[in-house]
Symmetry: C4
Subunit: 185 residues, 4 copies
């Protein structure tokens, strides 16, 4: 792909074009653990701060999508609660899911950011405008990502990416102004 | 707000006036993770030592309240078990919840401590007598708090704040005297 | 109590007299977290290695007991699975539970080891022959314990204490000989 | 057993002969925690990256087996989902389970790798071609293993071992070539 990767400035430039952020789920919005109970329930854990970040992003006009190779009703529940716009489950071929997503939204590669952690995420990480990996993603993904978060999957990586993009677009101060009364700021 | 923040002495002075401690829940009394099961259950984890601290605080005459933006039956169960006096769930506007709490209890801002972790907690952190953040709270909250706990959310932050306030009020030794027989102390 | 605390040699001497090991549960055999689900389930997590250690201790003739201030069917299940001999739940006054345990077993204080983590454990920690605290127990317990484990509650502290006692009694090599074929050892 | 243990080169040589990888479950594919709910459910957590690794190994022609001393429907579910070829539950005598596995598959000791964490795993670790322990396994296992993973149980140890073996056999680049388009690599 020959991307000019790594520099903060280059990534901020990429971030300014982003209109949609897509997330892998397991290992990105979770810590990669899935629990099973003896009666057959599947359980997975999400970070509330990531979720709040997605709401802030949506309020700022950014589209949110999930692209996951697995299928789980827990993911659909979480997506519904957050009002996630596009959810692709069972997407073993993530590139095909990205194609559908671009067709549905009319967006171009460079308007999309994606955050992944494992081998099957590589094709999307390599293709989108801002291809990202979580800090505990596998080496093959991290070395090919434009940006590696400092937080691990399920531990704030999603929020960190959202904040990076909103700051690059000059929208962060506006987002937090709702909460802050800083005569002293 | 122009608070004179930070010094231990100043915070102990603030703590001496506190008659009610209010806690955000997710990310403060939990580690910010919420689990979903395939059958639609929502699961969250609380720290037993925080809970024991709340019982100690109540025994010492301090009122305990929860103010959370989310709504969850797990939170109500935990509150019931601990005998928490005031529970505000679904409080997206936390300042309004604080107003209700003050009206109900007849207390003033300076008699209230609050422990939060995310952006929506800022208005309450900035207003109450002792505005606090957990160690893993977002930067915007930590920098505006009078006191940042050394423990993270769900990992003893609640207990730490309770103990700080009871010590400042000279009540801690009395609380533990029930358990200790220290001829050697 | 004026115990001569702390030295490894002194603790090994104490350990040689132990015939029963009693454990607090939350924060000692678990990491102190209790999860609640939206349908009212209470969930807590135990360490398999602690459990295996209890089986090894029983095989070596040591009695195992649980003394917990809370009541939970999960604890009874875990106790049943491990064949724990004595289970005291809802034991808010842990000294009274210890009295019952000594009456039932005919043992003396000095033949009992206890592992705790919080204030309500102090009376028992101070009284038994080998009073122990987990590494992440509250300071008031740790400073009064004969022995503080290097592992935290729920992270191997129980196994560590069992192994310390079995080694002091010269039983450890016998325990592991069943598993090891060390012509090279 | 007099194994010439430890060196990376020697382990790579051993790895080249491996045609089956067997895993203990609790403490190896999980972090060793088992949760119980008040209604009697048993819950355990697996790492998605380990599971993906097993799929990659199978695609490369390696047989996967589980050998666990406990019995749990969660393990069977996880095995079914991953298409694990051989599952031995309730295998308190792991050597006997290994015998059955060798008989079923027609493989020899040196064609098997095994990853364990606790005392009962020692007989198998000592016997197979590549006997391995997780980084947080008990000392008695780690010191007798040919290879100790740098990841802990439930935190990527399984994936790490699979990757080590596939690399030693020269199959890793082929495995990841499916995902990567590296004109720049």
């Amino acid at each position: 792909m020959g991307k000019d990767k790594g520099s903060l400035e280059k990534n901020a430039e990429r971030a300014r074009k982003i209109r949609l952020i897509a997330f892998d789920v397991d290992g990105v919005l979770t810590d990669g653990k899935v629990a099973w109970s003896s009666s057959g329930e599947e359980i997975k854990s999400f970070d509330i701060k990531d979720g709040h970040g997605m709401k802030l992003a949506k309020r700022a006009g950014i589209i949110i999508a999930f692209i996951t190779g697995r299928t789980s009703s827990a993911v659909q529940q979480r997506a519904d609660e957050l009002g996630v716009d596009h959810v692709y489950q069972g997407a073993v071929d993530k590139k095909a899911a990205l194609d559908s997503l671009l067709a549905e939204t009319g967006l171009a590669d460079e308007e999309v950011a994606f955050l992944g952690d494992d081998l099957i995420d590589i094709p999307v990480v390599q293709r989108v405008g801002l291809g990202c990996a979580v800090s505990d993603g596998v080496e093959e993904v991290r070395t090919r990502a434009d940006l590696v978060t400092s937080a691990p999957g399920g531990g704030g990586a999603g929020r960190e990416l959202i904040e990076f993009i909103l700051r690059a677009q000059g929208l962060w101060d506006d987002v937090i102004s709702k909460y802050v009364s800083d005569s002293d700021a």
